[in-house]
């Protein structure tokens, strides 16, 4: 039944049964948890795939069950799941859904029904994706970039049905994301409570908002590319498929442009990096500010940097295509635009460091993860400067240097922020506290572990070790040390893999046995910690919406009775 609360013009759909409360729920908090659990579940599949890849690379020949075809399939599925189905879905569908209404003082998303539909379509896309493991030929092994013509040509694993399930799943995902993204953007623009100006929003909301806008503008490229490739695959068109000889016979396709696909794919693919990074930037800013008891340094600059990075990320896509055979003059343009992004990004890094400077730093688990993010992000960013330059990129293309770079910058960094964010908001979401010691052990193994894994990969890449190779074999330019490094990386990866169980044990055990959490355990000023109930009830705010009187970063204000002033506290 829809009822209207006195201070809010929109009707609120109160759930009446267990099913409408927890399954077909229109409550943003339930949808957020549904999104997060699904994303983490499919992320675990990708984690297992990475462990299998490392087993093969570290100990080639020891596991006969892993054949070259399987290896390529693991690589492809791991990449696509991590980037799209875990990171995008968790940061926007999970955190976006949970945090936006609570942080801007809304009762829910503006289109709750569409929001619910978004989750169920997302779940469908995940199911279709997983179905790829069970179709004849298995999932696609074309690499996560799915480049034609090889993605749908004979010889590539899963070229018949695996690629089809992947493309259909992506198209469904784009539809799901569009529904969610419309909600996030419209809610931020339209449903902010009284006093919540745009520049009083926490940076988490700014990051998620900008990333949602970018997603809405970038995902159509993936959608179009997926549909066109499905046409090429099933209807015999030649959008992307050139004239080819396969098994000695000329194929029926002719004249298509594989480069066209690459342009479409990376027009989506590069903004995608920032769709994942910007929410992480925003969240990490809030974690650092809260746990350093200091207002974020240069708030306006931080907002502008988020928006500028978002805009610039649409004109750098071809830096993924330096070796694709496109016009060399493009390389000059795209290298320049790529390096310009370093400026707003560096502003953000300096501002995080300056927020820590002379702060009252509490090294709790969320803060540890936030500081670790600064390390990994700087490392990944610096190797990006190498790859952004055409002449340096050409010899490093398709080597492990690239693998190391993007894992540091858009794999490890956002994942560390996600861990930090889960530890940070867990008390609000569940009303319970997790175990500090277990959290710290999880942090240190993960943080040191990722360096043990990815730092040596830079070295392998500079030696010229190619990525996506099932086994290196006996090659003159690959010394014995490479095999030893590979063994070491695999052992480190398996240790980190196993250590993640600590996180799950901690979260699940604390859900039932953890001590009751304080409504605002970290003393945070932003709105989501000021809800009347913990965890927040349906409708979030009780009978009256909160009124906002200040920004979200009033920490350690001189003369204030406490070291933070909530946004809801009127000015004297």
């Amino acid at each position: 039944m829809a009822t209207t609360l006195a201070d809010d013009l929109r009707p609120l759909h109160h759930p009446h049964s267990w099913v409408t409360k927890y399954v077909w729920s229109q409550d943003h908090k339930v949808i957020a948890i549904q999104y997060s659990v699904t994303a983490i579940a499919i992320g675990l599949v990708a984690l297992v795939l990475s462990a299998l890849m490392r087993l093969q690379l570290g100990f080639p020949g020891v596991f006969p069950a892993i054949q070259p075809d399987n290896y390529l399939q693991f690589v492809s599925m791991h990449g696509m799941i991590m980037v799209v189905y875990l990171l995008t879905a968790l940061l926007l569908g999970g955190f976006g859904n949970y945090l936006i209404p609570l942080m801007i003082g809304a009762r829910d998303m503006v289109f709750p029904f569409v929001n619910m539909l978004s989750y169920w379509l997302y779940l469908l896309s995940v199911i279709v994706l997983v179905a790829g493991f069970f179709v004849p030929g298995g999932p696609t092994g074309a690499g996560w970039t799915l480049y034609p013509p090889q993605a749908i040509s004979e010889g590539t694993p899963g070229h018949q049905w695996g690629i089809a399930t992947m493309l259909v799943s992506l198209a469904i995902f784009v539809a799901a994301f569009t529904m969610g993204g419309l909600n996030y953007v419209t809610t931020v623009l339209q449903a902010r409570t009284k006093g919540m100006t745009l520049m009083r929003m926490p940076l988490s909301v700014w990051g998620i908002f900008t990333a949602s806008v970018m997603g809405l503008l970038a995902f159509p490229a993936l959608f179009v590319a997926a549909i066109m490739m499905l046409f090429d695959h099933f209807a015999g068109t030649s959008f992307f498929m050139p004239t080819m000889q396969s098994m000695g016979a000329v194929t029926s396709t002719e004249g298509g442009s594989p480069l066209l696909f690459q342009h479409l794919f990376w027009f989506f693919g590069h903004p995608e990096v920032y769709i994942v990074a910007l929410p992480a930037f925003g969240i990490v800013s809030d974690l650092i500010s809260v746990h350093a008891r200091r207002n974020i340094f240069g708030y306006r600059m931080m907002v502008w940097a988020i928006v500028i990075i978002g805009a610039l990320s649409f004109i750098v896509w071809a830096h993924h295509m330096y070796v694709s055979g496109m016009n060399p003059y493009f390389g000059f343009f795209f290298a320049t635009s790529t390096l310009i992004i370093a400026i707003p990004t560096a502003i953000k890094v300096y501002n995080w460091l300056l927020t820590l400077w002379r702060g009252d730093i509490h090294l709790r688990v969320p803060m540890l993860f936030a500081i670790a993010f600064i390390f990994t992000f700087i490392h990944g960013g610096l190797s990006g400067l190498f790859l952004g330059n055409v002449s340096v990129d050409v010899p490093l293309s398709d080597t492990f240097f690239v693998v190391a770079h993007f894992h540091m910058v858009m794999g490890v960094s956002p994942v560390l922020v996600i861990f930090g964010a889960i530890y940070h908001w867990y008390p609000k979401i569940t009303g319970r506290m997790w175990n500090e010691t277990l959290g710290k052990i999880h942090f240190w193994i993960t943080f040191l572990g990722v360096y043990a894994i990815f730092l040596p990969m830079h070295y392998l890449g500079i030696l010229g070790v190619p990525r996506r190779y099932y086994a290196l074999g006996e090659t003159a330019f690959i010394p014995q040390s490479v095999h030893m490094a590979n063994e070491w990386i695999s052992i480190a990866a398996l240790v980190v893999f196993a250590a993640q169980s600590l996180f799950f044990i901690n979260m699940i055990w604390s859900l039932f046995r953890g001590p009751k959490a304080d409504p605002n355990p970290w003393g945070a000023a932003s709105l989501e910690w000021q809800t009347p109930q913990t965890p927040p009830a349906h409708g979030n705010w009780g009978p009256k919406l909160p009124v906002v009187y200040r920004w979200a970063y009033d920490y350690s204000v001189p003369g204030a009775p406490r070291d933070f002033i909530p946004q809801t506290e009127p000015r004297a």
């Binding site: 013009l9 929109r10 419309l182 809610t187 520049m199 549909i227 030649s238 959008f239 009033d554």
Partner: protein
């Protein structure tokens, strides 16, 4: 207050606690959401347009034989375009009407004309098929079918929404439907111009 002035707000200063836009004074969620969706669909169709030109110009540029054969423009294309314009006009009359009955009748006519357009597009496809312009025989054909299919799916979605809105008789939602129809007409004019000019 312009967007730039808003983004320049120094929210940490005590003087900043004036919110010029009370929550009640903002445009409705539906219209904001619809505008954002126009951006999404606009990007999708522009990318297809870019792909169209890239694929079309590819062969001449690379010194290959040109494999792009443009399609003829049958009269049905013009009839369908006129139907969609009439549909949009009917929606506009519905949007401007103050009397509820008149608005509903005009909107119903708009939706019916939209359905006629879809049927017309289907006949156009049949016409091309009969003349031997198959999907896979030429990239120009492939783009034609792809563009019209995606546009048709949007019209179909609009018809479903229109049925819903006509049943609930909410004038605000009827107006949103009308604006959506104008957007689809705009996209169709661009598609038709692309097809006719190449």
């Amino acid at each position: 207050m312009t967007i730039l002035a808003r983004l320049a707000e120094k929210s940490w200063e005590p003087a900043s606690d004036r919110d010029p836009h009370e929550p009640g004074g903002r445009p409705s969620a539906g219209s904001v959401g619809l505008t954002v969706y126009f951006a999404v669909a606009g990007v999708m169709f522009s990318l297809l347009g870019a792909a169209y030109f890239m694929r079309m110009g590819l062969h001449a540029a690379m010194g290959h034989a040109d494999d792009w054969v443009s399609m003829p423009d049958p009269p049905l294309l013009w009839i369908n375009s006129a139907t969609l314009i009439a549909s949009s006009l009917a929606w506009e009359i519905g949007r401007r009407a103050s009397a509820e009955g008149r608005a509903a009748r005009a909107s119903l006519a708009g939706a019916a004309l939209g359905l006629c357009f879809l049927i017309g597009q289907w006949l156009l496809w049949r016409h091309y098929q009969a003349a031997g312009f198959y999907l896979s025989s030429n990239p120009a054909n492939a783009f034609f079918y792809l563009l019209t299919a995606l546009h048709g799916v949007h019209i179909l979605g609009g018809l479903i929404a229109a049925a819903w809105v006509l049943a609930e008789r909410n004038p605000a939602h009827l107006r949103l439907c009308a604006i959506y129809w104008h957007f689809l007409l705009f996209i169709w004019i661009l598609i038709a111009a692309l097809l006719l000019s190449t």
